[in-house]
Point group: C2
Chain length 184, copies 2
DNA sequence: AATTTTATATATCAATTTGATACATACCTA
DNA sequence: TAGGTATGTATCAAATTGATATATAAAATT
């Protein structure tokens, strides 16, 4: 009976440790705040939350709302917190990586240089949109003031996003001009 | 009967389009040259290659070797090339992202600042090792000379790796000093 | 000289995870 | 009034992983 890993489990525990949440909240916070860090599907979220109940890692509370469907809000238990801490202490392990954009770029040698340059321009547009969000978020936190380590870590995570996006933007700009120069 | 996506299929076709390869070759080239871009498991590679035969997207050739097990080398067919090109022309779609390091960092607010700083130092060590490989690879290509678009695209992919790693290193250095300053 | 580790190679499969969809309520807008 | 969007929970086939099994031979270690 080999033990398999389940990363989703720990990430969901970590989110519940931040504050009690419903499955829908989890999906939304991942899409909005952590969209470049972690993704998770409903097909994974809801069964995992059910499993937390069974294993005593979280508790549920049905919350009635006016004009909206009921929410099932999950809170982490001491047992859940213990399992989360054990995971946090384990060293970082590299896992799967999949960058569709770079793979397509590498395989695109049969296309024209101008086609590739235009492909990169559409990617650059996405990067520029995204970096605005990072700049606004980091600036907001700076102005608001970083009072505890939770704030500091959130700030650092945003900062990485900003710095990586900016590096990719510089790379895109350089690449586009190289593709067009090379065409001459 | 809804149509599902299968990214692996296209990436394996793209690799076979570069040159004929065995399943083992594919695993190795991904681990060595594309380790920050794409990962794929044997459990996915071998069944996909078999499926290519069935669908006429690739052909197999058994190659006997002295002192090593036989290899099964797959080559892309015109039909496979056509399917690959169709994929390459489809616009980039963002898919799953999972950065375990950043998630653990965000959840680590119960640990001490020094614990977090040390966690980042171990990550920084990995980044510094990796960036050396990127610097060597890009310099080697620069010296060798970029003669066709295939070279140029490979160079650009390496350049992104280098620039992103360097941005992460700068971020790590800044973060470590902020964590230690904040501790005062 | 015998043993262990490492590299080459294909293969399988339970567990994990995704992507798509279903269902229900309510608001907005064209 | 029909369509789109947001809030919510739920399911499941298909995609993908992580671990392991099997086999041969070179290289390193005891």
């Amino acid at each position: 009976m080999p033990r398999r890993k389940n990363q989703s489990r720990y990430v969901l525990l970590g989110l519940l440790d931040m504050r009690p949440m419903s499955g829908y909240d989890i999906k939304k916070i991942l899409e909005f705040s952590f969209s470049d860090i972690w993704s998770e599907s409903y097909g994974n979220i809801y069964p995992t939350l059910k499993a937390f109940l069974k294993d005593g890692l979280a508790e549920e509370k049905r919350v009635h709302q006016e004009g909206k469907p009921d929410r099932i809000v999950y809170s982490i238990t001491p047992k859940g917190k213990k399992e989360l801490t054990a995971w946090l202490k384990k060293p970082y392990e590299k896992r799967r990586v999949r960058d569709e954009f770079l793979m397509k770029l590498l395989f695109g040698y049969s296309l024209s240089r101008e086609d590739n340059a235009r492909l990169m321009e559409s990617y650059l547009t996405l990067l520029r949109e995204r970096v605005i969000w990072y700049r606004e978020s980091t600036e907001a936190l700076e102005k608001q003031g970083i009072t505890d380590q939770k704030d500091l870590l959130e700030y650092l995570a945003l900062l990485q996003g900003k710095m990586v996006q900016e590096a990719k933007i510089r790379w895109c700009e350089k690449s586009i001009s190289m593709l067009r120069e090379f065409g001459q």
